[in-house]
């Protein structure tokens, strides 16, 4: 993998993979929902939508088909730390993919009619999410766990802001953050590095450096007591979610906690883009045995994602019919307390490492997934975090896991959320 920085500040990562005649291009921006101020929640995600609507050199009516003519797919996503766009297509589409991304960086239009049309599309996306009780609970839990840091609001934004945001709000935000010195371009696939780099220079070299946006944020103060919330809404199923403030990707406790999550709920790997495709290996995991095997829950899932600032480690459980949420919570907390007091065994450590080793192989099975990983880690810290991950995982000791468990699983550090369904009216 070669890392280069263009004169305008654009970081470029290129990795050759000659296993298929494909190339994947991702352009990452260091802007996400944590950069949003009150009144503009959801603006990062809405900008992402607007950046598929045509540019100065890609007429609106020619967006459709621009990558499909190469058999390619394109997409994008926004989360708390980042916004990213991708194309994966046959290798002969490399020039087209770079053209699209250079246009997206500098020449999007934000036509007022498109802004209004997309407003209702995004509100529809928000309402679709609200249909899912688990997603609703996740949103409420995050908002309760954070009182100062901007991780507290949902990436899609609050409905009131989505109704009032203007075209100028969106365009101003776009111009501020979409500058080469705030971006990382990643190319992985059946390409020649030198030739690819020359193409990158041709497409992006003339884009002017911008003022590097400051990312001032209020750090989340230490939580001083357990927080709780209960959503009472019509539904058929009860859900429990427990969240703990967790270390960032660069914190020494991150990988020990990743091991601990594997012991508790099975290893997920480190790929936000692909790890949801296949459930974790968890039949022998502690929380699966304590909740699912005992019939208290039909599913349990842990989530620790690499983030730039300290975010949350969450554990979610779906209560089985007629099982009170209090019983699920008690069994779950008992297991976490046990981990906090006694740590994990050497056998568990060995198994968790084996799981993570396998998952990291499985999660880099395509040029798209490899490119995602390089760009994701570069955007939240450094690509070295990804390159070094296997060694960092291998170096984790059972003592380090026990220490992380003690620090993270304190009662005062947790937020507990219930979705307690009301019978249909």
């Amino acid at each position: 993998m070669r890392r280069t920085t263009l004169d305008n500040g654009l970081t470029v990562l290129i990795q050759e993979e000659h296993t298929a005649p494909l190339a994947s291009v991702w352009c990452w921006y260091r802007v996400g929902s944590k950069d949003e101020r009150p009144g503009l929640t959801g603006v990062s995600h809405w900008c992402e939508h607007m950046n598929f609507k045509g540019t100065e050199n890609i007429p609106r009516d020619q967006v459709k088909g621009i990558i499909e003519e190469y058999g390619g797919s394109w997409n994008g996503y926004t989360w708390i730390d980042q916004t990213t766009y991708l194309e994966t297509a046959t290798r002969d589409a490399l020039d087209r993919m770079l053209f699209i991304e250079s246009e997206r960086m500098a020449r999007c239009l934000y036509h007022p009619d498109d802004v209004e049309s997309e407003r209702t599309v995004i509100i529809s996306e928000l309402q679709g999410g609200e249909n899912d009780p688990d997603q609703l609970l996740d949103q409420e839990l995050t908002a309760t766990a954070f009182k100062a840091h901007t991780y507290r609001h949902p990436t899609i934004g609050w409905l009131s802001d989505l109704k009032t945001m203007t075209r100028d709000d969106l365009y101003g935000y776009y111009r501020r953050y979409y500058v080469p010195n705030n971006a990382t371009l990643v190319i992985v696939g059946d390409v020649d590095t030198d030739a690819a780099l020359a193409r990158v220079e041709r497409h992006f070299g003339a884009i002017t450096t911008g003022t590097a946006p400051a990312r001032a944020r209020t750090p989340e103060p230490e939580q001083t007591g357990e927080r709780r919330l209960v959503i009472c809404k019509e539904g058929t199923t009860a859900y429990l979610k427990v969240g703990y403030h967790a270390p960032s990707a660069t914190d020494a406790d991150f990988y020990p906690l990743l091991i601990l999550d594997a012991v508790l709920t099975g290893a997920k790997g480190l790929n936000l883009w692909s790890s949801f495709r296949v459930p974790p290996p968890q039949r022998s995991a502690r929380l699966y045995r304590a909740l699912v095997e005992r019939g208290l829950a039909s599913a349990v899932y842990g989530s620790l994602l690499p983030t730039e600032d300290p975010f949350l480690y969450t554990i979610s459980a779906t209560a089985t019919e007629r099982t009170p949420l209090a019983a699920v919570e008690a069994a779950l907390v008992e297991e976490l307390d046990r981990a906090s007091h006694d740590g994990i065994t050497e056998a568990e450590l060995k198994k968790a490492k084996a799981q993570l080793r396998a998952r990291m192989v499985f999660d880099t099975d395509s040029v798209t997934n490899i490119a995602h990983q390089l760009g994701y880690f570069e955007t939240i810290g450094s690509v070295d975090l990804f390159v070094d991950a296997p060694a960092r995982i291998a170096a984790v000791s059972a003592d380090a896991v026990a220490g992380a468990a003690r620090r993270v699983f304190a009662q005062s550090n947790r937020t507990i959320g219930w979705f307690d369904p009301l019978p249909a009216a």
Binding site: T19, A20, L22, N57, K64, G65, E68, E69, Y70, G71, G72, S73, A89, T90, R91, D92, R96, F99, S102, S117, T120, V121, I122, S124, E125, L126, Q127, G128, E130, N131, P133, H203, E234, G235, T237, G266, V278, P279, P281, R283, S284, A285, E293, S298, A299, T318, T320, E321, A354, Q355, R357, A358, R359, V361, F362, T364, D365, V367, A424, A425
Partner: protein, 435 residues
């Protein structure tokens, strides 16, 4: 093209030539079919073992039996306990996914190449000799009942299930809920699960596909070793009733007033996978509800009218006529407008057809996407499994561009006229909406 160029300057280059998959195919003397393909992208192996024992084989009145069997089958064998199996899989970082479609019961996993031999042996043991312990059945029933309750609170699932029940009435296997009903699941006994397994799981019904960093010869030896001794007579074939196309428009509203968004499912009985016009149907549907962001439907409902986050159509051609289903998620205030927009798009494609450019664009996309669709071991394994099930041939991936290439505009438009009809559409709306 340069960054300052215009789109119209684009010169479309031809996609790089690719070699066909060229898997090796072996049939053991007991009838087990093996498809093996060597790749070396990662030091891993994908396995896809499918038995022709899907939910369509549920006995009359027992919909849900196969689904429960799929939840229990890997919870113990004659030789190993559920805990042994869990430990064996977890210690290698493997998730065994057990999927049930109308026709197939599949065990799918990816393992490191070093683990291939013991994992294949374990999966074979699970498939051929499950013990189905009572305690495991009881626990898994609780999970299935919870999942059915969750489905009942999900407008998208409810709309889709109701659409299928209307398109395939009278207990047709395509119209039944795969998970069944809570009452049925709670009534299922271990003996029924054992009987279903004994009657439907036989070597003649199994296709094992193995793709990854392992030599096909070694795969053949291992498959012969783990399955060669499995002896059972072939079960009788399934007699599927032929679906009947709707004779009039139907509309069903399922009010779910606790929800924020409504789901629309709008469909037709459409096509068989082996229909002569299947490729015309596929291309027509791609233009209609797939290409780019949802084809014509996405253009109208999402891009031009801003009514929905998603609007698309899916063609599920099957052994007998499967459905073409249009789906959209819209705000309750927009339900009537969205249904009217779908009606307009259906009427337009039937009356005026698609254009040659639309056909060519979709064709170029589908042909060009083949290398991407066959990049990973798991994707190749799934592709080969489907090709084997529908008897499409070992060179199907190589022939696919020509099959798509031979479809004419007249054929694609004839497919639209054959399947789509506003006056015979079945429309289901689930969500915060009432007539």
């Amino acid at each position: 093209m340069s960054s300052s160029g215009r789109m119209s300057d684009a010169v479309v280059q031809s996609a790089p030539a690719r070699r066909g998959l060229e898997p090796s195919r072996t049939v053991l003397d007991n009838g087990v079919v093996l498809l093996a393909k060597r790749t070396s992208t990662t030091p891993a192996v994908a396995m896809n073992l499918a038995v022709r024992a899907g939910s369509a084989f549920d006995p009359p009145g027992r919909a849900g039996l196969t689904w429960l069997l799929s939840r229990v089958i890997d919870r113990g064998t004659a030789a190993q306990s559920a805990a042994d199996i869990a430990e064996e899989l977890d210690s290698r970082g493997i998730t065994l996914t057990i999927a049930v479609t109308r026709h197939l019961f599949s065990l799918v996993c990816t393992c490191l190449a070093d683990d291939f031999e013991p994992v294949l042996a374990l999966v074979a043991d699970i498939l051929a000799a499950p013990s189905l312990p009572d305690a495991e059945i009881a626990t898994r029933k609780g999970e299935v009942v919870t999942a059915i309750r969750q489905d009942g609170d999900n407008p998208a699932v409810r709309a889709n299930e109701a659409l299928m029940a209307l398109l395939y009435p009278d207990e047709h296997p395509y119209g039944r809920r795969t998970k069944g009903s809570i009452e049925l699941v709670e009534s299922l006994a271990r003996e029924e699960l054992l009987r279903q397994h004994a009657e439907r799981f036989a070597p003649s019904e199994l296709t094992a596909v193995v793709v990854g960093d392992v030599e096909p010869e070694r795969t053949r030896d291992l498959v012969a070793r783990v399955f060669g001794g499995w002896r059972k007579p072939p079960p009788p074939p399934l007699a599927l009733p032929l679906p009947v196309r709707a004779s009039a428009r139907r509309r069903l509203v399922l009010p779910m007033m606790n929800k924020s968004q409504a789901d629309i499912a709008y469909g037709f009985v459409a096509a068989r996978r082996r229909d002569p016009d299947y490729y015309a149907c596929w291309l027509m549907n791609n233009v209609f509800g797939q290409y780019s962001i949802g084809g014509r439907l996405g253009d109208s409902i999402r891009e031009r009218q801003g009514m929905a986050y998603y609007a698309s159509s899916a063609l599920d051609a099957n052994v007998v006529d499967g459905p073409l289903a249009i789906r959209a998620g819209v705000s309750p205030a927009n339900v009537d407008r969205a249904v009217a927009s779908i009606d307009r798009e259906v009427a337009a494609i039937v009356a005026d057809g698609i254009t040659q450019k639309e056909l060519d664009d979709s064709r170029r996309f589908l042909v060009g996407s083949i290398p991407r669709a066959l990049e990973t071991n798991a994707a190749i394994a799934n592709f080969l499994q489907i090709a084997e099930f529908f008897d499409l041939g070992l060179d199907y991936d190589a022939r696919l561009p020509a099959l798509l290439g031979s479809v004419t505009l007249d054929e694609a438009n004839a497919a639209a006229r054959r399947i789509l009809d506003v006056d015979r559409a079945t429309v289901v709306i689930a969500g915060p909406y009432q007539d």
